[in-house]
């Protein structure tokens, strides 16, 4: 099998022994041991496997690893700053005590981060539409919504200052 060169969270990885059509999810989890990205449905229905590929929120459960070659992959482990400073969304998730079981939350945060990155001024309706592919079985939607809204406000004030 060909060696695949991946860029994940700013680090280079040479992956061998993995078929090119292997979903990125399983390479992240089983090969690179980045288990923050979760498995939920395997058919892009729940969003718990969401990562960023070149900044785009991507369901890694159905995304062949070969397509990620030459692109920047960011997982939940790489969202915080290099110095460990949490992304405003991660901090907002803590401040709003969002999680119950927490299993879907890495995917929710990655989805929200990509949305706000692309559209910092997103309206509530746009955010709701953008988040509609991420399921939460525990039903923490109210808090997710509140956390995104407060992180958005913080990001906007930061953006205004810089």
């Amino acid at each position: 099998m060909p060696t695949l060169l991946l860029q994940v969270n700013g680090q280079k990885h040479e992956v061998t022994d993995v078929a090119p059509d292997t979903p990125l999810l399983w390479v992240l989890r089983d090969t690179l041991k980045l288990t923050g990205t979760k498995f939920g449905c395997g058919i892009e229905q729940c969003g718990v496997c969401t990562v960023h590929v070149d900044g785009v929120a991507t369901r890694s459960c159905n995304y062949p690893v070969s397509q990620a070659v030459g692109k920047q992959v960011v997982t939940i482990e790489g969202l915080a700053g290099k110095d460990g400073t949490l992304h405003p969304l991660q901090q907002a998730w803590i401040d709003h005590d969002v999680a119950q079981c927490g299993y879907c939350q890495p995917g929710q945060i990655m989805q929200a981060a990509a949305l706000l990155q692309r559209n910092p001024q997103a309206t509530e309706a746009e955010l709701m539409r953008g988040m509609s592919g991420n399921l939460c079985r525990c039903g923490t939607y109210k808090r997710i919504r509140d956390a995104i809204t407060s992180a958005q406000a913080q990001l906007q004030s930061k953006g205004g200052a810089s």
Binding site: D30, K38, F39, Q100, C136
Partner: protein, 734 residues
């Protein structure tokens, strides 16, 4: 604190033992609840060999307080709540508290489980006493250091303070000395007054929050071991089927596949089902090979059930009464004298648990026995099962309790533990078994569906007069299938003077289990929808009708641990009416509905406000929930459980049904078994009446009244009564 409660949980004897830590500091071992083992020990003279602590608290010289949390956490937040209770009485600085998950050790810890909303009520008192004993020791140690009377010292936020001189010492500096002092009697140790609480009742974030948002929290599916391989397990689509033949060699020839073998199973789904096990180098290779398995099944003894078949049988039973199992007064006479009689039949489907983390389990078998990492809600019974299936002694099964991605009752069953254990022994290396979503959804232990035929009367004054109910459910030999019963003392049944409830059991091959608020989660919808049919037929206001039924404040039935207090019930109904603006006008197409339910010792009234638009487009705009579960432990966690229960209830009533044909479940993944999406989640307002009764749990009781509240609101908006769930099948669009 005085309370008229007859079921106080405050009279258990607390055992404590204090030890000095080798490197300095204090270790306090204590007893949390009264398991049978502990009860037996109580009869014996006290001695080290009889002491079976089930909780641990240590205070290091640096002031760090470490609390072991004994019960599994699957999102209900118990890993935060229980330590918080100890920390409150200890007067600890919560920022200096580290919480760790205890491994399974029932001999040491008693029952370690997550079920029945029991963790808070069964642990509250002794946890407080444990914290208070440690605090008393630290205060004594400080008083000795300061050379002042203990009465002049107080503990606050990780320190003991002598206000008169302004001296203070941290718990860390005091711990070693405290460990040498005589231990006060936990039974008489002075507890804090609730008004002085600084942690309980406040908003405290989950102890694992940072690990959740950084992806660092280890769930069952994230467990890894050196040399680990990955396993898939293919079970017969029809429950109970066995393997006749399979393309084993073709599967073995696939890249990365290490082992393929047939598992005969024990013949029971709740132990070890039959199937084909595949062990491979990665999860992807194992799951892909499972997709390619061609298996001829022996279905001679397999389940042949079909949902439509059951529905037809139940319909044919509508004119019958079933075997009477609940009775009061004379329902027949009351109905005969009624001015108006209402008849209705209600049907709810089977539902799956669909935990976000599919079932999985990691196990390693070696000569010494089996080591297993599980997300079980009942790991102790999993240990028993694994020992039984492998035919090894229970003490050879070492169980690690791992955070689960949701439970809802699914993980009270331990089938995945038996599978992982069996496969690990055959594989000879550590394996992680992962079920695909499809495998998980089609092999659940489902919440049973059910059918209810009801007749109720209204007298000349608009009061309820007589109630008969025929509950067609599942079971055999007079015994309900697991989780398929209806609580005997549910509201309104428990308050009805003239009722007759009968039951017919249909034999069932589909495995059932416990699903959030078992016995209540679906029956509350039937009972409280039909109650609304009666009040509507009588032209009565439903709140007034409910309050009239409840009557004077009293316990029903008296002297029973599951008893309902009519005064507390009326309290949550009144507050829900007030907070929701009950009775104020709404525009056309909108409606408001209320329902009340009592279960798991918790009282909840819910008011839902809905809009039904053109094309039956439904929107649940607002939900007001009022609960009385006694004092609140962690307000943030408590509200989160209520909000989650409401969304869970709404997902279920609107979107979910498991159907089966020829013993095969038809729904396989989220595309045909939906979960509510964020944009459809209602505005939720949660209120608590913090009565002086002992605190009770919140994992379950807020869910049951949601469904009837929404359906009563749909009736208010449209005049249409929902008698079959889920709503999507009745054409209500999201």
């Amino acid at each position: 604190m005085s309370s008229p409660d007859t079921h106080a949980l405050l009279d258990r004897r607390g055992f404590l033992r204090v030890a000095a830590l080798a490197g300095g500091g204090l270790s306090l071992a204590f007893l949390i609840d009264g398991s049978p083992l502990l009860a037996a020990d109580e009869a014996k003279p006290a001695g080290a060999e009889n002491f079976r602590p089930n909780g641990y608290l240590t205070i290091s010289p640096d002031g760090t307080v470490t609390i072991l949390s004994k019960n599994p956490d699957l999102g209900q937040g118990i890993k935060t709540t229980l330590p918080l209770i100890i920390a409150e009485e200890l007067c600890a600085d919560w920022k200096r508290v580290v919480v760790e998950q205890a491994p399974l050790n029932p001999a040491l810890y008693g029952w370690q489980g997550a079920g029945g909303s029991t963790s808070v009520p069964s642990n509250y008192d002794n946890m407080r006493r444990a914290g208070a004993v440690a605090r008393t020791l630290l205060v004594s140690a400080a008083a000795a250091e300061f050379g002042v009377p203990e009465s002049e010292c107080r503990a606050e936020s990780g320190e003991v303070i002598h206000d008169i001189t302004g001296r203070r010492l941290g718990f860390g500096a005091l711990a070693s000395k405290a460990a040498t002092l005589p231990v006060p009697d936990a039974k008489t140790v002075v507890l804090k007054d609730r008004k002085d609480f600084s942690l309980l009742g406040r908003r405290v974030g989950g102890v694992d929050n940072k690990a959740v948002v950084t992806g660092a929290l280890c769930y069952g599916i994230d467990v890894s071991l050196p040399g680990i391989l990955y396993a898939a397990f293919v079970r017969c689509p029809a429950f109970g089927g066995k393997v006749k033949a399979a393309n084993l060699d073709a599967l073995r020839a696939r890249p990365g596949v290490r082992k393929v073998f047939i598992v005969e199973g024990t013949g029971r789904d709740d132990e070890l089902a039959a199937g084909v096990a595949i062990v491979a180098d990665s999860t992807h290779l194992a799951l892909s090979a499972a997709d390619e398995a061609e298996i001829t099944w022996d279905e001679d003894k397999a389940c042949k059930d079909s949902w439509s078949g059951f529905a037809a049988k139940a319909a044919a039973l509508s004119g019958e009464a079933g075997k009477e199992y609940q009775k009061s007064g004379d329902a027949k006479a009351a109905l005969a004298s009624a001015a108006k009689i209402i008849e209705a039949s209600y049907t709810y489907p089977f539902v799956a648990h669909a935990t976000m983390e599919p079932q999985n389990c990691t196990a390693h078998f070696s000569e010494g026995g089996l080591e297993i990492w599980t997300t079980s809600q009942n790991p102790g019974s999993g240990q028993d099962l694994v020992a039984k299936v492998l035919g090894i002694a229970k003490d050879k099964v070492r169980v690690h309790i791992i955070r689960g991605g949701g439970g809802f009752g699914r993980r009270l069953m331990n089938d995945y533990m038996a599978e992982a254990a069996f496969i690990a022994r055959e594989a000879g290396v550590p394996i992680k078994l992962i079920h695909s979503r499809e495998s998980d959804m089609t092999h659940d232990f489902y919440r049973a569906g059910g059918f209810h035929h009801l007749r109720g009367g209204i007298d000349g004054k608009g009061r309820l007069s007589g109630w008969t109910q025929h509950f067609v459910t599942f079971g055999q030999g007079g015994k309900d299938s697991r989780g398929a019963g209806m609580g005997a003392e549910l509201f309104p049944l428990v308050v009805l003077p003239d009722r007759s409830v009968g039951k017919t059991l249909l034999p069932l091959g589909v495995p059932t289990g416990y699903w959030r608020a078992p016995g209540s989660c679906a029956t509350a919808w039937v009972l409280e929808s039909f109650l609304h049919e009666l009040s509507a037929a009588a032209g009565r206001d439903h709140v007034e009708f409910l309050l009239e039924l409840l009557g004077e404040p009293r316990w029903l039935p008296p002297a029973n641990s599951g008893a309902l207090h009519t005064g507390r019930s009326a309290g949550v109904i009144r507050l829900a009416a007030q907070k929701s603006g009950w009775g104020t006008p709404l525009p056309a197409g909108r409606g408001r509905g209320i329902a009340f339910h009592f279960c798991h010792q918790g009282y909840f009234a819910i008011v839902a406000e809905v809009t039904v638009g053109a094309d039956r487009k439904l929107s649940v705009d607002r939900v007001v929930a009022v609960g009385d579960v006694g004092p609140i432990m962690n307000r943030s966690g408590a509200e989160n459980q209520v909000e989650g229960s409401i969304v869970d209830g709404l997902s279920t009533l609107w979107l979910q049904a498991i159907t089966f044909e020829e013993g095969r479940v038809q729904e396989t993944n989220f595309q045909d078994y939906g979960l509510l999406r964020m944009a459809k989640a209602p505005r939720i307002e949660t209120h608590f009446i913090e009565s002086e009764y002992p605190p009770t749990g919140l994992g379950e009781p807020a869910l049951p009244p949601l469904t009837p509240a929404v359906c009563n609101a749909i009736f208010a908006a449209t005049g249409e009564r929902v008698r079959t769930l889920p709503l999507v099948k009745a054409g209500f669009k999201a």
